[in-house]
Amino acid sequence: MSDFDPGRRRFLGHLGLAGMGALGASSFLSACASSASGPTTSNGSGAVTIQSNLSSPQAKEAMEKLIANFNAQGKGKASLNTIASETFRTQLPTYLTSANPPDLYTWYAGSVANDYASKNLLLDVSDVWKSMGDYPESLRTLSTEASGKQVFVPMNNYWWGFFYRKSNFAKWGVQEPKTWTDFLALCETLKSKGVPPIGIGLGDTPWIASAWFDYLNIRINGAPFHRELLAGKQRFDDPKVKAVFTRWREALPYFDPKGKAYPFQEATTALLAGKTGMFLIGTFFADAAPKDALGDLDFFRFPIIDPAVPLAEEAPTDGFFASAKTANPDGTKALLTYLSGVEAQEAYVKASSGIVLPANPKAKASDSPLVAKGKAMLDEAKELTQFFNRDSSDALQPTADTALTKFLDKPDQIDAILREWQAGAEKVFKG
């Protein structure tokens, strides 16, 4: 607009042209999705933009600290945009496909990253991995896409388990169960004491139910079958899948009936207040727990059902991937190298409240007994899975939400539910 002419006709012409330009560049999708946070760009300035969904107060502060540390080192410049999780999730495809995308993103490893990589949207970060020699092979495999290049840099992972309050278990005089039979017996005892044994929060967060499906499936049919199922290579109406629900039905009478009306945050409150006995949840729930309750928390692994099935645990891995269209690949890789280092990961663990395990094996996790127990559980596992949507896709998650909440309400309709689930999944795989 340097040649701006205040004349009316020129002004209108400018307006029209500006309108055309702005609209020509944006796709149908970006026009539809709310534009609360348009992609911010970094052309020319050299600063790497990092788009972060870590919006809970402690995690956000931790990220800000990391970026400040990186900028202080003088190896490059970075700027952080923190975006509400749900907005981030729906906008991510728009960011990645826009003409001038942000450089780096917080997101998940595995199938989700591979999906974007297969569309050539992710930057090849194999260079960064050369400096990450001490990372375990499992994490490298998780970060590698089909053609063999790395597209993801992990920062930390966490675990899922049955969390409970030590003081409450002592008060009720009960112990951690090891097997499914122990578990059902424990539920029966709690129920006889007037406590709903199993907490759940499906109100706004129906995906919480997927943890039950994942765990029962990897305990009964094993992790390889689970992965194939989620990749569309097995069918949801298979008798092996039905066996999962037969077991689940044994535990159904022990679920907190109020759980389907409130979200997992309120289920956390109910657990902490002793209104439910235990809660199958990931460690992120502790973000919503008051500090003084943290010391009283403990967990046990999902009970063993068939000892012959190799032990697998859910250990969702969080980290970063970068846009293939970044204007500054070198700066982006420098930042990724920093983020994969011991110093950055320890700083993140220290600053964030979440109970997480750093991905870098040399970085120290926080030294609480709870974290040590979680780390030991994951180390013992033969296989790690991510979570339903991370092992399949965000697009498949709604089919699971529908099927699982319906099962919890109407367990006797399981055959019809599984048929519908298979039909829904086929549509998603077909596109």
Partner: protein, 305 residues
């Protein structure tokens, strides 16, 4: 913009005469918004029709599949459920807000002491955004929340259920807050209509010995014809575009039991990433809205003629 150019190139005498009727400024004020509108509204709408004939995940280029999406719609049980819910919504939400709004307007039309307070109180919910309304009602419906406490207080605790999580009640539990808001709005429209009726008509009817029901039936309602058209269009359009309150209270769940066409379209597009199929649903919504509104307009014109 071509029109402005051509008017400047014609002979001075003609120009003076034409510009008296149609100044270039006026033309620009029509054409510029039209140009912007066509890029911003008409073009995406047409694109929507095109996308409904494709399979598209929002990232890869769309592939043309003909009428596959529409064929799939006919066999989609969730879509049929959403369609039925939209009809229920139209009838209940539309019908009750007209009845409620009209009733309130009748009660509050006479100037009495304190009537302003009641009018303001009934209109207050309209001021809140629907998402805020949803938050308030969520607290109302939550387990052991105000709704449950009220039921317990009057000895109806056997009715207590997870209102928003029970497929039997979810849709109706969502209609209630939508109504709570809409009634105030419709009331204001009717109040304006009632105020515009000439009091002499009522006076004359009273002289003829008409009781209050007869006056309502034969004087008030026929006189409100103009307002009815406005209310009806507002209601139909609001019903078909109802989305925010359902999305913020139940997201169409549990398992699609409170799904409307609008929420199903949104979740198909942005959660399942099936933008082609979602566009087909959008086209259906558009056709429905058009049918209802055209149907009404045709009738209205015929009555006038």
């Amino acid at each position: 913009m071509t029109a402005t150019v051509s008017t400047t190139s014609v002979t001075p005498t003609r120009r003076r005469r034409r510009s008296a009727r149609l100044s270039p400024l006026l033309v620009a004020f029509v054409l510029v918004p039209f140009a912007v509108e066509s890029i911003w509204v008409f073009w995406p709408a047409l694109q929507g029709f095109w996308f409904s004939l494709t399979r598209w995940d929002g990232m890869s280029p769309p592939t043309f599949v003909g009428t596959d999406n529409y064929v799939e719609l006919t066999g989609d049980a969730t879509f049929r459920g959403a369609l039925l819910n939209t009809v229920i919504w139209l009838v209940l939400f539309g019908g009750l807000s007209v009845l409620g709004g009209f009733g309130m307007a009748l009660v509050l039309q006479k100037e009495r002491r304190g009537v302003g307070f009641y009018r303001a109180a009934l209109f207050t919910p309209v001021v809140f955004s629907l998402v805020v309304t949803a938050l308030v009602w969520r607290v109302f419906y939550q387990p052991d929340g105000i709704a449950d406490t009220l039921l317990r207080a009057v000895g109806l605790e056997h009715l207590i259920r997870p209102w928003l999580a029970d497929p039997q009640t979810a849709l109706y539990a969502v209609i209630l807050p939508a109504l709570w808001r809409q009634i105030g709005y419709v009331m204001v429209l009717f109040l304006a209509g009632l105020k515009a009726i000439d009091p002499a008509l009522h006076e004359a009817a009273r002289m003829d010995g008409a009781n209050s029901w007869q006056r309502l039936r034969h004087v008030t309602i026929p006189q409100l014809k103009g307002v009815n058209a406005v209310v009806l269009s507002v209601i139909v359009i609001d019903s078909l575009r109802s989305f925010d309150i359902v999305w913020s209270l139940t997201k169409g769940g549990p398992y699609h039991s409170s799904e409307l066409l609008s929420t199903y379209m949104y979740s198909t597009a942005f959660q399942s990433l099936r933008l082609g199929y979602a566009s087909a649903i959008a086209v259906v919504i558009f056709v429905l809205a058009l049918a209802v509104i055209l149907g009404y307009l045709v009738r209205a014109f015929r009555e006038e003629a």
